[in-house]
Symmetry: C2
């Protein structure tokens, strides 16, 4: 299967590496930023382009891994191709593609990627969707080469999953950031709290989170809650977050 | 060193196991709930009591691992002992002990414990404090047998660390719970999001969290933020949390 990859960001980079490791043939990489496309293409050993008009028209699969708001304009340029065109977005409707191209699909990897850290792609849940059964089976074949965890999900469930991921990943990481901010202001190193962060995540690998909630809010320990609240008197934003989340934890008790 | 352990909850249990594994001699376990004390004492092979008046007076170290609001009343009963008396609380002043007993200290393990999951105690940061140098060195010796990570911290820094831990652990776990709630309402299994949770924690083992923040808020992707906000229209509490935390992430950009 000849693949054209459109994009050179975190998702495109990790996807390119995973595809290469499974001997899939990426024939071309497109990016607006030619030096980014070039870097990735050098690694994959394929052609790089930064002109949408130079995209090969005879590929079997086009993977659009760009920012959400750039998906439609790229799809516009792929109206005439016969290959399957997929995007990798959690929040974008398949219609953004199917209204323009002949064959449309979605290949959404549920993971947080950073260029500096390798991930084991086989552990990443891949959510797939297509407008017809034969294209779904093309995606199923490819996705199951890359990962052991392939899910057929319609657009509504995919979007919901993306929203849940904002809580479980983006907001969680922000909690780490706020903890770091508090530590830093008191000359304490972030290192001291890393074992706690690791254990907190490890616990929910085998338990449901609501079963292993700890801390003053779930104990309804008002003395500690009040002490913490006072300690944040000079940081109204953190105080507001402390109150909001403690109240939300208490609601779970009801 | 003869140790009396007061308490039979999560901290007391994990501490008892760690002390036993290092061949430290626990001579007695006290708990208000005799059956709890008994269970732990059977494992350690020592005496159990549920009467404060029956506590041995000739031990070298008394470890009070009970709820914060029960610490003082237990310390009251230990006024006459010559051994070192420590508590394991993140938020309680050393004065709660030093105002009552002859020799006072703190041994605070920075971890989230659940009875159902074993933890490697050697990886747990232990924060110690004492009112004089010789007692600090007693605690230092014991703590460094149990863990590779021993920190001397005064009360103010220990309390701050405990507050940071609420963000990094308790609030983080609550984010997992809210994600689970969203998934459950849409017939999606929590399992699908576990690899993302693991990777989010793994990333900050080698990076600082503010350097690896991802998601719509840090990209200032208003389209996605608005979509998510609408998806939470029927869940005002989650909508408020979504807004509050997204605003807080955006503040970091300034």
């Amino acid at each position: 299967m000849k693949i054209v990859l459109l994009g050179s960001g975190n998702v495109a980079t990790h996807l390119a590496q995973a595809l290469k490791s499974k001997d899939e043939e990426i024939v071309q990489i497109y990016s607006q930023r030619l030096n980014h496309a070039q870097l990735l293409a050098d690694f994959i050993q394929c052609e790089s382009v930064n002109d949408l008009k130079a995209i090969k028209t005879d590929a079997d699969l086009y993977i659009i891994a760009v920012k959400d708001d750039a998906i439609e304009s790229i799809a516009d340029q792929l109206r005439t191709v016969n290959g399957l065109v997929v995007h990798t977005s959690g929040t974008t409707d398949i219609q953004a593609l199917s209204s323009k191209v002949k064959r449309a699909g979605v290949l959404y990897p549920l993971q947080t990627f950073s260029k500096t850290k390798a991930v084991s792609f086989e552990e990443i849940p891949l959510c797939i969707e297509a407008t017809n059964a034969s294209d779904l089976s093309v995606l199923q074949n490819l996705a199951s080469k890359l990962s052991q965890k392939v899910h057929h999900l319609g657009g509504e469930k995919r979007k919901l999953l993306h929203l849940a991921a904002v809580f479980a990943c983006n907001f969680t990481n922000h909690m780490y950031t706020l903890a770091h901010q508090l530590l830093q202001q008191n000359d304490l190193d972030f290192e001291i709290i890393r074992p706690l962060i690791k254990e907190t995540a490890d616990k929910v690998m085998v338990n449901l989170p609501e079963k292993v909630q700890t801390g003053p809010a779930v104990r309804a320990d008002e003395t500690t809650l009040n002490k913490h609240f006072s300690m944040l008197n000079n940081m109204p934003e953190l105080q507001h977050i402390y109150q909001t989340l403690s109240d939300s934890i208490k609601l779970m008790l009801k």
